[in-house]
Symmetry: D2
Subunit: 371 residues, 4 copies
């Protein structure tokens, strides 16, 4: 066969596109925005009508994610104030799309020469140039984790829709320092009492000290966020391709810097025997153990859902690195700016937001549970 793609009168169709800026099927978030463009924001399509929104609660979630909130995170100044353009009337959702924006107040001209023509190691700079032909290089453009602020807005609204479902994420490991307690023994009211967002105060102190040391070295470190979801009604999840845990997994893996996801017994469960791993029933339909992590065959069974999310260390380090430029030459690059030494404290509200979006969507897809 001899295919030519298109007559020359036609605009080249072979320019690349970016798909995948929407999440969810019925409760659906579409985001837009580059790190240093005029604004980031999004549209929430499918939020039910008649929900009285607590706008301050939404802003509070954003504040948990924003830079400069503690000595442990980047000291950039971004107020991250959300404005709503549509979908809310007299304090309630109307059922129509909720349009919102977070305007960038911090757009002053900076020196981007070091990243304009060079590719930072373990960043998306080069693959963006490869795929799209050029990129908005200011602050990482679309590949910046700044995009996740829009997810936090939408997740905060999803939480208000989900009402009694209780979603609690927390930092369970920073580098080699990991929680050893089972999640059922943790007091989540302590999570927000320290800048690491770890509900075990002793471990939190250790983690904080570790992050401070790493930062002094001009280095960064990875970590793990765990999440526990209580009061989930039985029946959420579509049991073939869109299993509840498959949707949660995709949601978490779509967050910048995430390298792994496990739920329930997770990777440790792979080492167990069936006779150990099986969750035996109680007469009331609950189970004695919960290796299943609240999900059977992709469907919530009413027990607590819990999962872990692994984050790699931030790729921007304050050390000199030899790297590649866009002419194929090796160049020296020095980290600049104000970056997070460890991403997990600020990523806690993002994990909760993505979990809320998954549950809101599967709630709308669900149509009834027998009692």
């Amino acid at each position: 066969m001899n295919y030519v793609q298109y007559p020359s009168i036609f605009y080249s169709i072979f320019e690349p596109i970016m798909a995948g800026n929407s999440f969810g099927q019925l409760f659906k978030l579409t985001t837009f925005g580059e790190s240093h463009g005029p604004a980031i924001g999004g549209v929430i399509d499918g939020c039910p009508a008649g929900i009285t929104l607590d706008l301050e609660a939404i802003q509070r979630e954003l504040n948990r994610r924003k830079p400069g909130q503690s000595a442990l995170v980047t000291q950039r100044k971004e107020p991250d104030e959300v404005v709503f353009y549509a979908g809310i009337f007299e304090g309630k959702t109307t059922g129509t799309p909720i349009g919102f924006a977070i305007h960038n107040t911090n757009q002053k001209s900076r020196d981007y020469a070091h990243i304009k023509d060079s590719y930072r190691p373990s960043h998306a700079d080069k693959v963006y140039d490869d795929k799209y032909g050029f990129r908005d290089y200011r602050g990482g453009g679309r590949s910046s984790a700044r995009e996740t602020a829009s997810r936090v807005v939408a997740g905060a609204i999803a939480k208000q829709f989900l009402k009694s479902i209780d979603i609690q994420a927390y930092v369970s490991a920073v580098g080699p320092i990991a929680l050893t307690k089972d999640h059922s023994t943790l007091d989540f009211s302590l999570t927000e009492t320290n800048p690491v967002r770890c509900p075990d105060p002793e471990k939190a102190t250790e983690m904080e000290a570790y992050i401070r040391r790493i930062r002094k070295e001009g280095d960064t470190v990875g970590g793990v966020i765990s999440c526990v979801i209580k009061n989930v009604p039985i029946g959420l999840g579509e049991p073939v391709f869109d299993k509840l845990h498959a949707e949660l997994g995709k949601a978490m893996l779509s967050i910048n810097a995430v390298k792994g996801f496990e739920y329930g017994s997770g990777f440790a469960g792979a080492q167990q025997k069936g006779s150990e791993h099986n969750d035996q029933f109680n007469a009331d339909g609950t189970t004695k153990s919960n290796h299943s992590g609240g999900i059977q065959g992709g469907i919530s069974n009413g027990m607590d859902i819990y999962f872990n999310v692994a984050f790699k260390p931030v790729a921007t380090i304050m050390q000199s690195q030899t790297t590649l430029d866009n002419k194929g030459k090796m160049v020296e690059m020095q980290g600049k700016g104000r970056h997070d030494p460890c991403v997990v404290p600020r990523a806690v509200p993002i994990v909760e937001a993505m979990a809320a979006l998954v549950l809101a969507d599967l709630t709308l897809l669900n149509r009834g549970t027998r009692y």
Copy 2:
């Protein structure tokens, strides 16, 4: 079976949602906004990277749709200026989502008492209350044709992507006054020379006079918009459910006030015999006649695409009508405000925009045409 829908701990899932605020599969527009909210706008997801955008051309398309542009249309003042928040860098599309808004400058408090509690005949007021429980009643809220301004923005960008494809819509009938000439004999450079947007100057004059007379009567009138698309590459359209003409039909029927769609020979073709209607081939692959309207089996065949779109008369008339209020009582209602006596002149750019969105999406779905 005995289903209860959800435990009472759970936010009622039976609050209604509004789906369907997105259009397109790969070149996808999502819109938000109510008539008198802070802003309307949208996100264009999937616009290819590297297109040098003519922003003034986009604003020009918006100006063709905006109120107050001539004596024939509503005299409301809405400047309809679009601002872009993302997806454009150094004058070119980056491939990332294009976020935009049109801020409402005209939000002054008005007297909506006459529509807040009463249902205007042949408007969506009552079904919105029925479906969503309440509504943003200001100026029709989400049901207002003001939403189509976002479509015009996206359509203008789609036109720039489609480049050489030439999309020409025009008014072909106003009430009983209809063009009789075949579209192939019309000079489309005349369309914008009169406020009716009819390329036949004599008919345009008649139509204009008719609209003025109707308006004096406090009445409104319907009309027809026709559209001709030239230079369409062979091969656009997915031949089962997403036929090119089915997508065009849905696109047009999604415009406020549209009652019908026909393409090629249309309803008249239903009266013909096969021996008359068949388009015989020329040796170069073109056809002698074009009853097919440029589409065979749902796929473009390279001939001109043409279609007609019927619009009902505007439902808001400046006459007193007896109607229903939300307590089930019959009340007297008097039309107020500044409304269009005939919607078709301002709807011409909307028809073009929706056609451009369909073609842009099917272009991205298409992967090759043999020559």
Copy 3:
């Protein structure tokens, strides 16, 4: 920019695909099959659990569409028996996908030489070759209306889900012979009493005679199918892009040979004044007239939905035509085989099936209506 599409190690991505073989968002039909392949069939995803299916009623719908059912239609022999592979257990739907097939019993080797290398006028032969590089030419392959048998199966199941919603399609015009009575005065119990499927017995006789005459001439003729839907709950339809009438329009325009769609007042409504066209309310929420066709702002208002669908004359005529072959030469082609002189009698169940699919899908998307 200098894009190359892909490294040569990679299978050419520029081979074309066919998208759009699914219809619906939650109640979703995906079809497969070519006219003379081993089987056609499909998968219905999203059919609710617990519906006791009347399998004979499904087969009866298929029999209304099948060839050879009367002297007016093609005399091909295709028993069109559906077999179900999944999704039904102990007589009830399980909520899982319903997989089904209609095996082709009539696959005997035939002489396709006349269409293998030549392009029939006003058929999809040439655009398929243009778009896909080659085609299954046997009986039109995927472009054959045989695909619609799968739609009839799915539509018959949708009807059983929709229960009390009453969908009645009928032939309202054959060539120049058209019904003049308003649909509200017709007795639909007469539709199936004549081979034309026209509920006006006098007109049915005229139409039948006309079709017989046309067939004798070796010619074909177009027609119009009308459809009336009663007992539709208030609130179906998504009021922006996925308006109820936009979905109906797309559904109908996706049926082979359809050239136009209008609902309610349709194209005639474009000639009216607002003061005539507006549907005034009664105190019970119904309207005195129904120019709106049961739909306001894209949402059902509880009144009868009605619409018209225009079909072109069948392109295969029993006369000699000069046409193009795939070497670019003009050749003589003689119609062969057993074809319908007029497609509308057999298309009546297809129109009903597509209407049922639209309503089933919008029913699942709808989440509540206030009373």
Copy 4:
């Protein structure tokens, strides 16, 4: 607000549906079928036209998954022969949907009394009853891993489309016995030389002995499958929600019994410092290390993709368990039938199939990569 859901004339819309039986956006698989129904199968929509299919290679993939293939797996007899109904003509794909079925030859009446009314621990029996009201209990119905046979068929076709992309999955752990070698040092030609599908012959022998011992105990054990993908072009993946690794993660987590997914450095990477973890560039654009796992910012960078998938132990054990029945009583249940003591050997082709489906879909979404 006072919502009632629907008038009583209407079929209850609150019957539940099962969504999510499709995978992929452009290269899309929809599956149907219950474990012991007449057939399982599916439709592949969007497979490019013109691919010469090796049907035997497809069957070979199915044979790698089928029961009874070795002494290590279930001894059930299911020949698992695929028949194709559409989408292939003269040995090549036509671009139209590929419909296929695997008929169940082993439908003889069995004694299901022990699972009809009782809920097996850590199986989906109870949540299916909860969500759908009843279930096809024969062999697990839709929740059975038998559904994955359809995925293997589609994945085998995706592999033929992807041509030079090389996807190699293998067993890297069975219970506590794990591979310690880096994937880059393994000889994948050895994977199929032992019934465990482990490319390290010594470990394979250990694993095999372990599985035999576990089976004798009437118990089961979990395991890990790893996968390495070579020759991936730069540019696959959509960098916000539909990141390449997020799609892979969802794909793997949608496979029955999967509990976790990690790619590149995975959970171990969360313990590292940025200075260790960053992948430094070589002058040719490759990287010195590959902690990124071939993916940067959600986009393939041309290096090898590798990931691990954790599987829980099979829940059906040949030991007596106390469990719940559907009347809320505790009952004794004895495992019956022929089940796998360890699922990972048969899951290797499923992991490869799902990986192939992800890559095929993202290949069609990708439109160009600069060189």
